[in-house]
């Protein structure tokens, strides 16, 4: 029998493909990038087989090219994500995400006594460790580590 190579999510002509997103964090990526407010065509697949991640997700966004600064915001939830920049159905550039030096408004401070958990304050962190991501709160100066990290 002939094996059929078939794409789970159909190809795009121009735009960005974000691959290797942990399946459980797909909707967090959508939220962080604000994709729910985009007008362009977006297709995604989730719970796809991945040797590396177990279950992965993929997003294809037509006619959208991200700044590094914007795309790095997903590093907290999809540290292994890979980006393919597509022009005329061809991959013209590949990128990986990098954990930025500061994180604004994505994660929640784990300190229940922190001002950011009491008032309308946008959270801000300095990234003190990039490997096992660890964040130091700009306000209460306490550390939020990966295990305790909650995405807002």
């Amino acid at each position: 029998m002939k094996e059929r190579k078939q794409l789970s999510v159909s190809a795009i002509e121009n735009g960005t493909v974000i691959d290797h997103i942990p399946a459980r964090n797909l909707f967090k990526v959508i939220q962080i990038l604000g994709l729910d407010h985009f007008d362009s065509q977006i297709t995604f697949g989730t719970n796809l087989e991945s040797k590396k991640l177990g279950k992965k997700a993929i997003i294809k966004i037509s006619d959208k090219f991200f700044e590094d600064e914007d795309i790095n915001r997903i590093a907290l939830v999809a540290p292994d994500a890979k980006l393919n920049i597509i022009r005329d159905y061809e991959v013209v550039e590949k990128k990986v995400v990098e954990v930025p030096d500061t994180i604004t408004g994505i994660a929640k401070c784990m300190n229940p006594k922190c001002i950011t958990n009491f008032e309308q304050v946008t959270t801000r962190f300095r990234v003190v460790s990039k490997k096992n991501v660890s964040l130091k709160c700009h306000y209460c100066e306490k550390i939020t580590n990966q295990e305790n990290m909650q995405i807002i």
Binding site: K113, C114, I115, V121, C137, E141
Partner: protein, 302 residues
Amino acid sequence: MKPRSLVSIDDLNTGEILKILDLAAEFEKEPVQKLLEGKVVATLFFEPSTRTRLSFESAINRLGGKIVGFSDASSSSVSKGETLHDTIRMVSSYSDLIVMRHPIEGSARFASEIASVPVINAGDGANQHPTQTLLDMYSIRKTQGTLDGLNIFMVGDLKYGRTVHSLMMAMSRWNTTFNFISPDELKMPDEFKLYLENLGLRYYEHSDFTDIISRADIIYMTRVQKERFSDPIEYEKVKNVYVLKNAMLANTKPNMRILHPLPRVNEIHPDVDSNPKAYYFEQALNGVYTRQAILCSLLGIK
């Protein structure tokens, strides 16, 4: 331009710290200088702290400034549900500088970002209390003549003690040797020890200090609070180990001085008070000079 605030001791570089200490020495020589004449300072105490508030208000009064504010949140608009954001916006327009004490951590940093006038953090929960650190450093420099090469003993609750953490971080800018003496449950957290290791500074941990006390230049005492112990029996076992008594001071260095952020409960026996090495009440007085220096420095007056 955003006004300069003092939220954390790390907001100041070493030169700025020394400048404040020098200025505090000037105020010690001449405490009454009408440098804040015509200025209004707001003292917002969202939780009561009589000692800190009186020290600030004394400093402001000696500088000829006027004070507005409240001494606990129940007598302020907070009890009506006003946000910190709104309180700070409002008070900014009534005053030239804000001194604030608040139980929530990070509240002072947040306030400094909203306020149009300088903010001095007089304690934000368990986080920072930089004016205490500066007055501790002033007391250390005054009694030892230097901040460099000292052997500092920190005794008591080193786990939750905000003052010891800040002082340790600040003194790590100089070549300081630290001796941490605490019950097992209240040891200095690893993150601070790691910080010292990365700087190549020496520190030693002990559960008792009677044998090593002769090495100390400064003994910094803190309160061991019963409520910090998960097991009340543990508290009963250790509560008398961390009490300083006059008889223990016999073989200490002549330059050694005992500091305590106050209030003390029983961790320094009253028989120590008359020993010339007891310095905690002078330390509290130094707080007024140091706060005078901080107020003038942030307002760009000196």
